[in-house]
C-alpha cells in the first residue's frame, strides 16, 4: 500500500513538473497542419455563427484565414469569451487570440500582442432622444458592459458614481438596455454599431459622447515567441499594402453592410 501511495505521489508531482517542451509555435502549427484561433462566436461582425452555414464567420476569422493560408495550414476556430481568451492562450489551447481584444499595457505581463489590426474607441450606446449625451450624464446611473473587458474598467474611471453592471456578452448588455435595466451600454464603437444595427429599429438608438478611451485591437500571442509575432505583424502589413485588408474590411464594415464604419485609421507600417 505504501508503495502505491508513493507511486501516486510521484505521478502527481511529475504531472505538475512536466510542462510542454517549448518549441516555436510556428513549427507546432505547421506540424499539426492547423492554426487554432480563439475567436468570438457572439460578436457580429467580428465573429459570430452564420445563419445559413452554422459556422463561425466574421472579420477576424477572415484575417485568421489569411494567416492560415500564408502558413499553408488549415484554420480551426475555437470560441472564446472576454474572460477565457487569455487563460486559453497561455495554456496553449489556442495559438492566437483574435477576439476584439484591446492592446493594453496591463495585459503585456501575461501575453504579447501583434500590431494594431483594428482601431476604435469606447463610447456609449443609449436610447435616442434620452437624457444621456455624455458619460457625465451617467452619474449614479447604471451602465452595462462585459466581464473582464477594458470598457468595464474605463467606465468606472470616467464616472466613479455610476454602477457598472457586467454581462457575459454584449448582446446581453444591449438586451438589458432595451428592457431599461441599464441606462447605457459602453464599449468600443465598432461593437456598439454592430449592436445598434442588429436591432429591428436601429434608428431608435444613438451612439453618443467623446471617446472615453482609444481602443486599438491586437491579436493575442504567447509571450516570447518572436518568430510567430514577426510572422503575424509582417503578414498584417502585407495584407494592408496589397489591399487585401481593405477588401476584408469592406466585406464586414463597408458602405453596403449594416455595420458601416468608415476606415479612418492607418496601420502601422514598417519600412
Amino acid at each position: 500500500m505504501k508503495r502505491l501511495a508513493t507511486a501516486l505521489t510521484a505521478i502527481l508531482v511529475l504531472a505538475f513538473l512536466v510542462s510542454p517542451a517549448f518549441a516555436g509555435k510556428i513549427e507546432d502549427i505547421k506540424k499539426r497542419g492547423t492554426l487554432i484561433a480563439g475567436v468570438k462566436d457572439s460578436q457580429p461582425p467580428f465573429g459570430y455563427v452564420d445563419e445559413k452555414t452554422n459556422q463561425i464567420v466574421g472579420f477576424e476569422i477572415d484575417i485568421m484565414k489569411f494567416l492560415a493560408d500564408k502558413l499553408g495550414v488549415k484554420l480551426d476556430v475555437k470560441a472564446v469569451t472576454s474572460s477565457t481568451r487569455i487563460p486559453m492562450l497561455t495554456q496553449g489551447e489556442v495559438d492566437i487570440v483574435a477576439a476584439t481584444m484591446t492592446h493594453k499595457k496591463d495585459r503585456e505581463g501575461q501575453i504579447d500582442f501583434s500590431i494594431t489590426y483594428f482601431m476604435t474607441g469606447q463610447r456609449l450606446l443609449v436610447k435616442k432622444g434620452g437624457p444621456i449625451k455624455s458619460v457625465k450624464d451617467l452619474a449614479s446611473k447604471k451602465i452595462g458592459s462585459v466581464k473582464g473587458s477594458t470598457s468595464e474598467q474605463n467606465a468606472k474611471k470616467a464616472e466613479p458614481t455610476a454602477t457598472i453592471v457586467s454581462f457575459e456578452t454584449y448582446p446581453e448588455a444591449f438586451l438589458a438596455l432595451k428592457q431599461g435595466k441599464v441606462e447605457a451600454v459602453t464599449t468600443d464603437e465598432a461593437i456598439l454599431v454592430g449592436l445598434k444595427f442588429s436591432d429591428e429599429k436601429p434608428e431608435a438608438w444613438d451612439i453618443v459622447g467623446d471617446y472615453i478611451s482609444p481602443e486599438p485591437y491586437g491579436f493575442g500571442l504567447v509571450e516570447n515567441d518572436s518568430k510567430l509575432r514577426d510572422f503575424v505583424n509582417v503578414s498584417l502589413m502585407e495584407m494592408w499594402e496589397s489591399g487585401e485588408y481593405k477588401k476584408v474590411y469592406d466585406k464586414w464594415f463597408g458602405k453596403d453592410t449594416k455595420n458601416y464604419i468608415p476606415l479612418t485609421w492607418t496601420m502601422e507600417l514598417w519600412p
Binding site: 504531472a15 510542462s19 510542454p20 452555414t53 452554422n54 459556422q55 449592436l195 442588429s198 436591432d199
Partner: protein, 231 residues
Amino acid sequence: MHWDVVWNNFDYFLWGAYPKGPLGGLAMSILMALGGIFGAFWLGLLIGVCRLSKRVWLRAPAMVYIEIIRGTPLLMVIFWFYFLAPVIMGKSLPDWQSAIIALIVFTSAYIAEIVRAGVLSLPKGQMEAARGSGLSHAQTMIHIILPQALFNMIPSFVNQFVSLTKDTSLAYIIGVSELTKTATQVNSRTMKAPFEIFITVAALYFVVCFVLTELSRRLETKINRYQARGR
C-alpha cells in the same frame, strides 16, 4: 413575436453545425448528460463504498474528496478542470470531454453521499446475518447490501441525474457548443427574439428531464413487480 427565428434555427439548437461541423446543441447536451450519468454513477458508488469502509486509508480520502467537491461551485470545477487537464495529462482535452469529466467529478460526490445514506438506512441485521453465514464483507456488500440499498436510492439518483442534465448548460463557460451556447449564439446574431429563443431552450431541457424521470418511474415499477414475485 418572432417564432420564425426559433423555427429557422431549430436544427442548430438540436444538433449544432453537424454534420458539416462539430456536433452541438441539444445532442451535445444529451451526450454530456449520458456520459456524466454513467461515469458519476460508478465513481460515486466506489467512493460511497470507500466512505463506509472501516479502513481509514479508504475512508479518509473519500471523505476529503466528498467534502471538497461539495464545497465548490460546479462552475469552478468545470473551469478549473479545463485548465488543469493539460497539466495533468500533458495534452489538452477537447472542451466537451473536459466538461464531462468535471460533471462526473462533481456529481460523484453527491452520488457517494446518496450511496452512504442508502446503505446506512438498511437494518444492521442484514449485514450481521450475511457475515454470520460466512460471507466476507465485500461479498456481503455486493450480493446483499447494495442490491437492496440501490433500489431504495433510485429516487435520489434520478434527482441527481436530472440536476446533472441541467448542469450541462454550465459547460458553455469553456466554449462547449451545447444547447445554451447555441441559443446564446443565435440570440446575439438576431437580437430580436430573446424570449422566444430561451423559452424554446427551457422547453427542450424540460422534455429531456421529463423523459429521464418517466423512464426511472417505469424502471421502479418494473423492479417492484420483480421483487414482489420473488417473495
